[in-house]
Symmetry: C2
Subunit: 258 residues, 2 copies
């Protein structure tokens, strides 16, 4: 945080600007500095780090008041952060990128599909300390009050101390797990969806498929994971990086290929 | 590879079924076993691991002949692999998931945005040995002949020996770098796009933004990276994993938050 100047905080999400989660995040972030919101015009859940290449983007400024500017963008969460950093912030470099608060967890393999994480990874790629917040309730009218002290504390500490190079944070706040017990630093649990699609037949006799299914956690007893601690009422903070190189098997792959 | 039965190979891509790259990949894969293609109906470059949640998917079988079935799906590359594994393969588990051959590199931070990698990570999540192939030419009419011996050799070895648990391969084949020298096992280079957007004004006076810019490689002298070896005429094979936990900084994050 620079001396004698307010921090600049860029906020995006995947649920759009009318979601309760982003409204809560904006309110807390304004306690710390000037906020620019770059939110998608349409629901962008499950968009991962998708970007828009073959069509151009539009940005509409829908609010400008002391300490808060809001843009809506007809793209993905990653597009929103990219366009804000390159064009909408007019050359200012933000002190922090925040995404969320997502309506629903982004844990386990969901991290791979999450638009909230897509926005956060984009901040990380651009060397801005970046944090994703998600709350366990999928209710569009969820009450985010329980999240506020944790969001406030994490924003304050990250603004003050920064984050290790190449690292962003994926924060998940439990819902319906009793009183919150505190914060645990966790790993992303592995798993996959089973019976992922429900096949239906339309009135014209053609099949179509809805994504559905249930999530199977592969290591439920692993005491390092996001899901383990969320189930026990702790806020999960997973440090994440962009690089997915499997360094541990490079020698094995060299043997296999040569 | 099972004894006394042909391997089953599932192929997807992000350029669609009419692309030259997937046609080359299908032809080589058919030398090894039965091929099922699940390709997107529309161009899906830059779709990362995006999935389709709020609308249902359709699948159209456009070809069924001895050893080759082709489905077109109105979704993302990850959707294609998910729907094939859960529904279209009718309970058979593939021996291999292949994606590509992409028209253009998927190296460096592009790995994060790549639909080709989205399809490949989906195979990995489902515990199928999975390989992405990309060729350096962005030409829709590119000649993939130079790729064929490498694609053939890698498919053969992965079918025979499998891949380490939790690992897929991201293979990039150089274009315009002289005669290919062989294969190097590499890491994903870090970097970012600069001047990412080009602002234009439409005939009605409103601004719009095209994604454009140039890629800045952050560590061009790092002798482990994909870009380093591709520039020198080597085929780059990067082992990748889904888990993005930054394990090395977990203690530091715990200190920061508590």
């Amino acid at each position: 945080m620079k001396e004698n100047s307010k921090p600049l905080i860029l906020i995006s999400n995947d649920d759009g600007y009318n979601a309760g989660g982003i409204r809560t995040l904006i309110a807390v972030a304004r306690e710390f500095g000037d906020v620019v919101v770059a939110a998608p015009m349409k629901q962008q859940s499950g968009k991962a780090s998708a970007i828009t290449i073959t069509t151009p983007l539009r940005a509409k400024r829908v609010k400008q008041e002391e300490g808060l500017t809001v843009f809506l963008i007809d793209g993905t969460p990653a597009d929103c952060v990219k366009l804000a950093l390159d064009q909408l912030l007019e050359g200012r470099h933000p002190d922090l990128v925040l995404a969320g608060i997502n309506h629903g967890y982004n844990v386990g393999v969901s991290t791979l599909y999450s638009g909230t994480m897509g926005a956060t990874f984009e901040g990380l790629v651009h060397h801005v300390p970046s944090v994703a917040f998600s709350y366990g309730s999928y209710d569009p009218d969820a009450d985010f009050t329980v999240c506020v002290p944790y969001v406030r504390s994490i924003i304050g500490r990250v603004l003050e101390q920064g984050l290790p190079k190449g690292t962003c944070l994926n924060v998940n706040i439990p819902h319906d797990k009793g009183e919150l017990k505190g914060v645990k630093v966790t790993t992303t649990s592995l798993g996959l969806w089973r019976n992922e699609f429900e096949r239906r037949t339309d009135p014209h006799g053609a099949d179509y498929y809805w994504m559905a299914g249930y999530y199977e956690h592969e290591n439920p007893d692993d005491e390092t994971t996001d899901l383990y601690w969320i189930d026990r009422g702790w806020v999960s903070v997973t440090p994440c990086k962009v690089d997915q190189t499997a360094r541990g098997v490079m020698g094995e792959i060299a043997d296999l290929l040569t």
